[in-house]
Amino acid sequence: MLLTRSRFFFVLSAMVLLVVASAWFSLLLGPSELSFAQVWGAVTGAEAAGPEADIVLRIRWPRTLLAMLVGASLSVSGVVFQAMLRNPLADPFVLGVSGGAALGGIAALSLGAAAGFGYNAVPPAAFVGALVTTFLLYVIAGSGERVSANNLLLTGVVFNAFASAAIVFLASVAGLTEGSQIFLWLIGNLSAARSDVAGWVALFLALGLVASLLLGRSLNLLILGDEPAAQLGVATEAHKRVLLLATSLMVGAAVSVAGLVGFVGLIIPHLLRLVLGADHRLLVPAAALGGGAFLVVCDSVARTALGGRELPVGAITALVGGPLFLYLLRKHQQRVFAP
């Protein structure tokens, strides 16, 4: 499908409507039943005072916004990984990059508790964790001539296992195991999300998103392989370094507030590619909006499906993403993409 200006704006406008609809859904849902009019009043400022407005603006809205940011970060990271590694199964969670970010975050929490610099160190540490893991992934699984899907996925599995073990170890040593805090990091959830680091998250997402948007055409060309992309004028090494930083920022941001929410980067890019085609100049912004809307809906379900008790949102995304991953794995089995 040819990417014309009108198609570009039509698709993104539709996606923005989807985000608005998901946010509305999320603001309406919760233990206290609010009417359409009450939510409308709170959002528009007509009823800015009162308990209803407080629920909408102070409880549900921050969480909805956070879900949006986390979903967008994970979804765009998935798109970028899938292009750079030329593999539709690449996803920050599956590859172990989220695990690396979580390890970084927990390390900062454990050491930070002793050093006294608090939660603000977690997002930068998660970024470093993601960066180191991505770098190791490139070194170990390779990225140049021939990357087999199996090689990449096996490396991811081992990274994840190692990160989980190291997280539990660190947390035990530092005494962070009380109150199932670690469990929530490992399964991924937004119920304990710290809105004091929302600024970090927004900054990291903004930087990562802008870089991915600017390099949309390069992402298209990198799918041909590194050498063909270079032969078409792409400064491949420089662009890949920027994209590596971008994904690490986005994954670091997402993990530092939500823990290990899996498969968002797999589900949304796959669905969007089916509908919109493969052009990354459209796919990247659409994935940001689609990922945001998707995680807002998943989190609304997680908050309300069991009545008073909350499910971790990572459980919802994994229930959707796990089967999709297996389907994609079967579809692409034994397939090695040579340049």
């Binding site: 499908m1 040819l2 055409r217 400064a235 085609g277 993409f337």
Partner: protein, 261 residues
């Protein structure tokens, strides 16, 4: 297109690990000519194309474009001058044929933005020139090897380079499409471009190319008009195969290998 720059390989040597792949390769391609590069498997033909596009760094010698070393060119400037068609390309995502051809416009475009009308015009003209307009909206993943090769060739034409570097451009093509593709190369060359074509088909190379470069074990064994390069004694040295050279009705040499030596 009119141009005056020529592409020159000067004493190019490449080692891959302990193996010496190219040794002291020197020849040039001028605008307005098609140079064929022939030689046995592993003789270094593809390696030389990689050196020319600077995706592989040579260990000795240099590649010059209009007398200037390509080491000083930006990636985009080099891509505006040289277009390659790889042996085969498979894509993991469903780009349409037109989207793939439009990728050839990348070196002419700013980093960010949608395709401009002139890019679309160049891409569609290239597809028409190769006769694949009807592939426009088809997914590259659903095309056959030969059809993909035509798309990749159209991409190189859309790049509007000074030199076309083609690596076995006709390996998956039937006779009709071979002739069409080589006809398109000839038209570009007549319009002022130059072409360097790797081929295993000595007969076709002899007919289409103005000059041939024969490589053997990384060294240039012979350079010159096809009639001079395709000599029985030269071929026996380069390929280790005895062959008879007969003359086709149009005067071009035909190589007929002897099956037992």
């Amino acid at each position: 297109m009119t141009q005056t720059r020529s592409l020159e390989f000067r004493d190019v040597s490449v080692r891959l690990g302990a193996r010496s792949v190219l040794r002291g390769v020197s020849f040039d391609v001028k605008p307005g000519e098609i140079v064929g590069m022939v030689g046995h498997n592993g003789s270094g033909k593809t390696t030389l194309l990689r050196v020319a596009t600077r995706v592989l760094r040579q260990d000795g010698g240099e590649v010059l474009l209009g007398g200037e070393s390509i080491a000083g060119f930006s990636r985009a400037a080099l891509a505006r001058a040289l277009a390659t068609v790889p042996q085969d390309t498979q894509l993991p995502y469903p780009f349409t044929a037109l989207e793939v051809v439009l990728m050839g416009r990348a070196p002419h475009q700013p980093l960010f933005g949608l395709d401009r009308p002139e890019d679309l015009a160049a891409a569609r003209a290239a597809m028409a020139e190769v006769g694949i307009e009807e592939f426009e909206a088809r997914s590259i993943q659903k095309l056959s090897g030969g059809e993909r090769q035509l798309v990749m060739f159209a991409r190189a034409l859309a790049q509007e380079p000074e030199f076309l570097l083609l690596d076995e451009p006709t390996s998956f093509l039937d006779l009709r499409h071979r002739i069409d593709l080589l006809g398109a190369v000839r038209r570009r060359v007549d319009a002022g471009a130059g072409a360097l074509v790797v081929s295993h088909d000595l007969g076709l190379a002899a007919r289409v190319c103005d000059r041939l470069v024969l490589l053997s074990h990384g060294e240039v064994v012979a350079v010159g008009p096809p009639g001079e390069v395709l000599e029985a004694s030269v071929l026996e040295r380069a390929f280790g195969v005895a062959a008879d050279i007969v003359t086709a009705p149009d005067g071009s040499p035909l190589v007929v290998p002897r099956l037992s030596s």
